[in-house]
């Protein structure tokens, strides 16, 4: 067998350099100084006697309240799903909201939805936690004081009436509005004003793409990227699998071409050029370190070579120096040219000149109409930075008479906060629709809190012709009001949000979709399905105008270039109050509860800093921020990267999140927000907001701010101190290249064949009925961490706070292990979701003294919480390090958040071990449902929470005993392997090897053992 030399994979620089052993052992308790053994036994004895006494009484009286009048269709204790729209970002994915006993509990992706195709990201999964937040406004405010809606309405209507008469400038600021009804209502509201304007401000804008299309195609639109048609993807900085525009949709499309099989060993070729290491870059076949300041140069050269292949004269001008090898660029141009009409070039640059080059390349390659759809453009980003900058000028000049801000925090997300706040202070009427006290709300005269999206009717049109509906899933928790109703009332169309929505759907949407059916039928279908699609209207593809396309020399900077990005899970500042997302380890850096400055290892050495050392980052204007450093392999040496969306006012509430014990350290210093706001680094140039800034100075402050990073936690590596001969090599994550795969589909497997026929244990527990198993395709898995939050929501996994994370006590049942290999110039990354492997020969089971963890006859490794006494032997003996111990009773710091608890899963108490149960509650549910129907369980009926959420559909779950099941088929595939198979644990979970679309039989740049 032609076998590759196994690349070394490492999770942190310390691990690569062999310095990570100290972190290796199972997290253990410490001897608490000052308490003697005798005192401890006294206390323990007293506690025991109390337990004995308390056990003798009658159980407390429990009352049960049935409905007074039971609503039709509602069954107590039964989860019902309602079609809806995810409001986590502007991508508007399809959603099924699981509602049980009047509480929305669990979000699931809508499998029928044409964009998201059943996937849902971490933000979507965490949505209902934002609903049960005691810090949301429960009533309107007038001048910061609680007020009644009638009073607020009267005062606003009076002021608005005056404005209509005297012709004052009225500005309505929102992020991209994908709701046609809201757009119409804003239009109606602004109608009476001579000088009324709707300003679309996206906190992370893609305005340059739209403006470039206005110049080349005559229409200011965002193309709908159809990555399922793309065989070659070149992305300059666009993090399309992580945060860019519609990551779930793009992941769902991207993965369709990432499955090489024996019959058809073809997969897409994905090249990422970027300054920082993004989630998308970590999944690319080939990744180049290019400073964002030089994207234009690469694209200029690419445009020239593609033009010459097409026999055209290249755009005028000369491109600057090429930051990647010329042969690589020629190869890239060849591949793109070969895949004409089946390729796509993406770029997140906010420079219109760069976007024009992107359009030119895509046009020359004939990608418009196949991978870029302008017939039905995307409406997911409509922000116009020119409008925003004009608004800022007007504000500074004191020309605005009324400012309405909905759905975004205007001051938090823009630069020059102090001056902006002062200018807003001069505006006679400022109205905010904020959900909770943000940075902008205190500046507003009136705060008219909008409902949480799960409480209100709304709609969306993410792509032209695709209309979605969202319905309320519970009665509003506070005295809030839908923005639609507020606008309706102020503009003289008082109606409920439901009524307003129906009138839009009757008036404009039904004629496009189903003009012949009755409205009632149409509406009922739309509410049930959650979306309707209009037939594609034929619009002539506009002529491509090359007039403005020029090659420009984008000079690289000598100073550092700063990249501001939005983080997976946090996006803009909207989700900063969500503890699940704050504690979600970033898919690449693995840091929780902070933002930080990413620097390359070389730069870190240059600056003399390491992880957690606080540096001062300063712009030419003098704006500065002090943040801890994170050394990020694969980052460009002259690039610094910082995440937006942090430093949100009110996040000091998390100071005491997690267990409060005598050694507890607060998650954030009292009065300090989580992270620091770095929006002050945003600049404006050429009518665009720029998230890349040159001329940055950085200096060490000498202080240290420890980061809570999970990257070295729960490692599968054998510490050098206990390995027989040096550190043992374990093929935990296996990868290969497409060239090797074509020759031998089993390429990448370890050479040493392990005989697992000899059994220490008798075969006394064969799974006879079902054998539940899972196969995870690492080639599809992007590491987006949606599964992690889905699991947290499904299985009542608590939040532990930053200090406990630092003590390696995070409770997530799924760990997204991220392995690097190669060197900084050609870094390969593999993501591996690691959870309980449900071993057939489970090491944990043999060491449990009370049989709390045992094997079921369906192949599951079960954990009986009520039997566990907390010896932690099992966790110590678990080779995969997937068991989590409840060191404390993790109470929710916001009691309202107890409403999110899944009633079908036990809330574990202190002193109990827990781990992935393979969603056994869903398995039981599925089995019972099948038994009721009198049929066997159908493959695909039972889905685990992680599997359901996965945008890449990388997880397959089912019955291994069923020869026709998807999981059985996947398990027999050539890429399938089991982690630590040489130990003969006979796991129920298998993985499918990563295949990178590369020519070499061996990994380029890999270090060899």
């Amino acid at each position: 067998m032609n076998r590759n030399v196994t690349p070394t994979h490492w999770r942190s620089l310390a691990e690569r350099d062999g310095a990570a052993d100290s972190q290796h052992a199972e997290p253990h308790g410490r001897n608490v100084a000052g308490v003697s053994r005798r005192q401890f036994l006294e206390a323990a004895g007293f506690t025991l006697s109390l337990v004995a006494v308390s056990g003798c009484g009658r159980a407390p009286t429990i009352t049960a309240l049935p409905f007074a009048v039971q609503p039709e269709g509602v069954v107590p204790g039964r989860m019902q799903q309602y079609a809806s729209i995810c409001s986590g970002c502007t991508a508007s994915c399809g959603l099924l909201v699981g509602v049980r006993d009047g509480r929305p509990l669990k979000m699931e992706g809508m499998p029928e939805h044409p964009l998201s195709r059943g996937g849902l990201c971490a933000v979507g999964q965490a949505l209902p936690l934002g609903l049960y937040d005691s810090q949301r406004f429960t009533q309107p405010l007038a001048d910061g004081q609680a007020a009644a809606w009638d009073d607020v309405d009267r005062q606003i209507q009076k002021r608005v009436g005056e404005l209509a008469d005297n012709g004052g400038a009225v500005r309505f600021v929102t992020p991209t509005v994908s709701s046609p009804t809201l757009r119409a209502m804003i239009g109606k509201f602004l109608e009476p004003f001579e000088n009324g304007r709707h300003v679309t401000f996206d906190p992370v804008s893609s305005s340059a793409i739209l403006d470039a299309h206005e110049q080349t195609h005559g229409r200011r639109v965002l193309p709908h990227y159809r990555l399922e048609n793309a065989h070659v993807i070149v992305s300059c900085g666009a993090d399309f699998l992580g945060t860019w525009i519609a990551p779930v949709e793009f992941t769902a499309a991207w993965r369709t071409r990432r499955v090489p099989s024996e019959e058809n060993p073809r997969m897409s070729y994905h090249v990422q050029l970027e300054g920082r290491l993004s989630l998308t870059g970590s999944n690319a076949d080939r990744r180049y370190r290019v400073s964002p300041a030089e994207y234009g140069n690469v694209l200029g050269h690419l445009a020239t070579s593609i033009a010459s292949r097409a026999g055209q004269s290249p755009p005028p001008g000369t491109p600057g120096s090429l930051p990647i090898p010329e042969s690589d660029l020629a190869d890239l141009a060849d591949r793109l040219w070969k895949a004409r009409g089946e390729s796509v070039v993406l770029c997140d640059s906010q420079d219109v000149a760069v976007q024009l080059l992107v359009n030119y390349i895509n046009h020359t390659l004939g990608n418009y109409g196949t991978t870029l759809d302008l017939q039905r453009p995307s409406l997911q980003r409509q922000g116009s930075d020119a409008e925003v900058l004009a608004l800022l000028d007007e504000l500074r000049a004191g020309e605005v008479s009324a400012l309405f801000v909905a759905g975004t925090d205007l001051t938090h997300n823009l630069f020059d906060r102090a001056a902006l706040a002062e200018a807003i202070g001069q505006v006679p009427l400022v109205v905010s629709f904020a959900e909770r006290q943000d940075d902008f709300a205190p500046l507003a005269h009136f705060v008219c809190p909008d409902h949480h999206p799960l409480e209100s009717w709304t709609d969306a049109e993410p792509v032209r012709g695709l209309f979605s509906l969202s319905q309320p899933t519970l009665r509003p928790l506070g005295d809030t009001r839908s923005i639609l109703e507020s606008l309706g009332r102020w503009s003289g169309h008082p109606d409920t949000a439901y009524g307003l929505l129906q009138s839009t759907w009757k008036g404009t949407i039904q004629p496009q979709v189903a003009p012949e059916s009755s409205f009632v039928d149409f509406w009922d279908r739309a509410v049930h399905d959650g979306f309707v699609e209009a037939a594609a209207e034929e619009i002539a593809t506009p002529e491509f105008k090359t007039d403005d396309v020029k090659l420009v020399d984008f000079e690289p900077a000598d100073d550092f270039t700063l990249v501001l990005y939005s983080k997976v899970g946090m996006t803009d500042s909207r989700h900063a109050h969500n503890p699940w997302l704050q504690e979600l380890p970033d898919p690449v850096t693995k840091v929780t509860w902070d933002n930080y400055v990413c620097v390359s290892p070389t730069t870190a050495t240059e600056l003399g800093v390491s992880d957690g050392d606080v540096v001062r980052v300063e712009a030419e204007t003098g704006f500065q921020v002090e943040l801890p450093v994170l050394v990020q392999p694969g980052q460009h040496d002259r690039v610094l990267a910082m995440a937006l969306g942090y430093g949100v006012p009110g996040t000091d509430r998390f100071a005491n999140i997690g267990p409060q014990w005598f050694e507890a350290r607060p998650t954030v210093a009292p009065g300090q927000p989580v992270g620091r706001n770095v929006a002050g680094f945003i600049t404006a140039a050429n009518n665009q907001l720029q998230y890349v800034r040159k001329g940055i100075r950085v200096a060490s402050t000498g202080r240290h701010h420890p980061l809570a990073s999970t990257q070295e936690h729960h490692s599968l590596r054998v510490p050098a101190s206990v390995a027989p001969q040096g550190a043992e090599v374990r093929d935990v994550v296996q990868d290969t290249t497409l060239a090797a795969f074509e020759r031998d589909p089993r390429a990448g497997a370890p050479a040493v064949h392990h005989h697992s026929e000899t059994q220490l244990w008798p075969e006394d527990h064969p799974p006879t009925t079902h054998a539940w198993g899972m196969v995870i395709d690492l080639n599809k898995c992007t590491g987006c961490s949606a599964c992690l939050i889905a699991c947290q929501a499904e299985n009542n996994v608590p939040v532990v706070g930053k200090d406990e994370v630092r003590r390696q006590r995070e409770m997530h049942w799924i760990r997204l292990d991220r392995y690097y290999s190669g060197d900084d110039d050609d870094l390969s990354v593999a993501h591996q979701p690691m959870m309980c492997q449900h071993c057939g020969n489970a090491p944990c089971e043999t060491v449990c003294p009370v049989l709390a963890t045992v094997h079921s006859d369906e192949g599951l490794n079960e954990q009986a919480y009520n039997r566990c006494v907390g010896t932690r032997y099992c966790a110590n003996n678990c080779p995969y390090k997937v068991r989590r111990f409840n060191w404390f009773k993790y109470e929710r710091h916001d009691v309202l958040q107890n409403l999110i608890l899944n009633p079908d899963v036990t809330v574990r108490t202190r002193g109990v071990m827990e781990k992935c149960s393979m969603c056994v509650q869903r398995i039981e549910e599925g089995k019972i449902a099948a038994a009721q129907r009198g049929e066997p369980v159908v493959d695909g009926d039972i889905k685990t929470a992680c599997q359901q959420s996965c945008p890449a559909q990388a997880i397959v779950f089912g019955d291994l005993n069923d020869a026709s099941s998807a999981v059985h088929v996947a398990r027999g595939g050539p890429r399938t392997y089991r982690v630590l198979d040489e130990m003969n644990f006979r796991t129920s979970v298998s993985y499918q090897r990563v295949v990178r679309n590369r020519d070499g039989v061996e990994q380029g740049g890999d270090k060899h053992v």
């Binding site: 056990g55 159980a59 429990i62 049935p66 409905f67 009986a864 036990t906 149960s917 509650q921 039981e924």
Partner: protein, 217 residues
């Protein structure tokens, strides 16, 4: 002498102590064993009358038993299906009707004190007309069969397998006030699961598993 007296007294004491202990053993229960629990309910509903005398099916009121984990306590409107007409005991209604016939008048509305509580919850006035503006309230029943929080019992599975309600709940049709008939202990559950797997339920083979995660997750 006094030694002997003390010995005799101690022996007698021991004898009575043993008798008390042995007789006490029969009623002694493990903590949390609630067998025989029959709390006072807010409304003296009689299962003997409804399920026994009138032979109503359990699932007529406990509709969720086939659709949900919980059998559910019926909502007030389920009671009102009959009790809009039946406002008092049969005898009283019959008496009033006879008397009204003799006196050639409409029978007067007769409402039993227990049903009055239901009507109060439904916000109905003396003439059983809805009180304007009032919303019906739930009745706060006391739960009789309680399982610990880490136990997930599912009615659907048992109903689908053909286990009768009385098998676990006892002779409900003879209970004036609802009482917990069985121990609902884990041993009791597991015994039945084993027996059912060995002998089947009502002649049908079943696979009642005894894995931990059948009930604990």
């Amino acid at each position: 002498m006094s030694q002997r007296v003390i010995t005799v007294v101690l022996l007698i004491g021991l004898f009575f102590g043993a008798i008390t202990l042995v007789s006490g053993m029969s009623t002694w229960r493990l903590p949390d064993n609630q067998q025989g629990y029959a709390p006072q309910q807010p409304l003296d509903y009689s299962h003997r009358l409804h399920a026994g005398e009138l032979q109503m099916d359990c699932r007529f009121c406990h509709t969720a038993a086939e659709q949900s984990r919980y059998a559910g306590i019926p909502s007030n409107d389920v009671c009102m299906k009959c009790h809009t007409v039946v406002t008092d005991s049969f005898d009283k209604l019959q008496d009033e009707r006879k008397r009204a016939d003799e006196e050639k008048r409409q029978p007067a509305l007769s409402i039993s004190p227990e049903l009055r509580k239901l009507y109060d919850a439904m916000q109905l006035d003396d003439q059983l007309q809805p009180i304007a503006g009032a919303t019906p309230k739930s009745i706060s029943w006391v739960k009789v069969h309680n399982l610990p929080d880490y136990v997930y019992f599912d009615h659907r599975a048992h109903v689908a397998a053909g286990v009768s309600c009385q098998h676990c709940h006892g002779p409900v049709e003879s209970m004036e006030r609802m009482r917990q008939h069985e121990t609902l202990s884990m041993g009791w559950c597991v015994n039945c699961h084993r027996e059912a797997t060995a002998d089947g339920v009502n002649g049908r083979a079943v696979n009642a598993k005894t894995d931990c995660a059948v009930c604990h997750y």
